[in-house]
């Protein structure tokens, strides 16, 4: 079995077992459910998951292990990626990009952390984070930017010390429309519902 570079569904010819594999994990040659379980266990270990419980479940039903893999492991991995990305951005110094861009201030970073934590705590949004692959960065003024794109829509956030602004962009048959405004508790979920409603 070849090692895929990115997230990928792999179907076993002999068992019809589907796996989704994050790129940072190497896949052992899984030809049996037992091997599959060992692979899942190794991934779970990297997240300090309670493998004992899962082992018990896995011994009776590989499906339970697979469900946990999707619901718990992949989501945890995605969450961790986002948190790690923010940590990298937080380490930036002034002129980090060679274009005189400012480093994000501590209050901005804290606001971004809070923004992302709230996002990840929302079941409706976090369940879709696997597909979203948001792009997180900082800009020339030290704002932290959070961008999500799909085929026809974009939802972006600019996080500053005292305010978070959103920009929604959508394609129509003739034009590309845009709207920018301040983010608040009332419009946050509505914006995500708009973006995710395909």
């Amino acid at each position: 079995m070849s090692y895929a570079k990115h997230w990928q569904s792999l179907e076993h010819e002999d068992t019809n077992i589907l796996l989704v594999k994050p790129k940072s994990f190497e896949l052992i040659n899984t030809t049996t459910e037992s091997d599959e379980y060992h692979f899942l266990s190794s991934v779970m270990d990297s997240f300090n998951t309670d493998t004992t419980t899962l082992e018990q479940e896995g011994s009776t039903s590989a499906n339970i292990v697979r469900n946990d893999f999707y619901k718990t492991i992949l989501l945890s991995w995605q969450k961790r990626k986002i948190v790690e990305r923010l940590a990298v951005i937080a380490q930036r110094e002034d002129d980090w990009d060679g274009y005189d861009s400012k480093k994000p201030t501590e209050p901005t970073i804290n606001r971004a952390k809070h923004f992302i934590e709230e996002l990840l705590d929302n079941d409706f949004i976090s369940a879709r984070l696997l597909q979203l692959e948001p792009f997180i960065c900082s800009d020339e003024d030290g704002y932290i930017t959070f961008e999500c794109y799909n085929d026809k829509r974009s939802l972006c956030f600019d996080i500053q010390e005292n305010e978070t602004r959103y920009t929604k962009i959508w394609r129509t048959s003739d034009n590309t429309m845009t709207q920018t405004d301040s983010l608040n508790r009332e419009n946050h979920l509505t914006l995500w519902e708009w973006f995710l409603d395909e």
């Binding site: 990115h6 990009d97 792009f135 020339e140 974009s154 590309t176 845009t178």
Partner: protein, 145 residues
């Protein structure tokens, strides 16, 4: 004005996509395909450069500066169709006659109908870049070594 000096709405445009360095301009999606973000259109002067495909013989490779560069394409009329409050988006032909000569060179501009603060100009440019991401098609993927 020469008729060739105006970028027609149906013209294809090429934008060079250098490989990621300290600036992440793209990432790979679940299927391994390149997906760009707004950094792909960053420009210090807030006027991202593009090449007119028809003046490049419709060969995106000719817009590369380095072998590893990727190329994304846009349609001029779609770029002009980006609607940002109190702003006009345009594609302007701006050939470079000095070294490095580039007779296909053009600029994507966003200009305000009013005199705006620096932060509002920045916001408009940021919205432009994000809109351009939605309108872009990856023609050649950057080749990381």
């Amino acid at each position: 004005m020469n008729k060739n000096d105006f970028v027609e709405d149906d013209e294809e445009l090429y934008r060079r996509l250098p490989i990621n360095d300290h600036i992440q301009r793209y990432s790979h999606n679940n299927e391994g395909k390149v997906e760009i973000n707004s950094k792909a259109f960053f420009d210090r002067d807030q006027q991202p450069s593009v090449d007119r495909a028809k003046l490049k013989n419709y060969d995106p490779k000719t817009s590369k500066l380095h072998d590893t560069d990727g190329i994304v394409s846009l349609i001029a009329g779609e770029v002009r169709g980006i609607t940002i409050d109190n702003h006009t988006v345009d594609v302007i032909y701006a050939p470079i006659l000095d070294f490095p000569k580039n007779l296909s060179h053009s600029l994507i501009t966003v200009s305000s109908k009013n005199d705006l603060s620096k932060s509002k100009r920045k916001q408009a440019f940021s919205t432009l870049r994000r809109s351009l991401v939605l309108l872009s098609t990856v023609k050649i993927e950057p080749q990381e070594i």
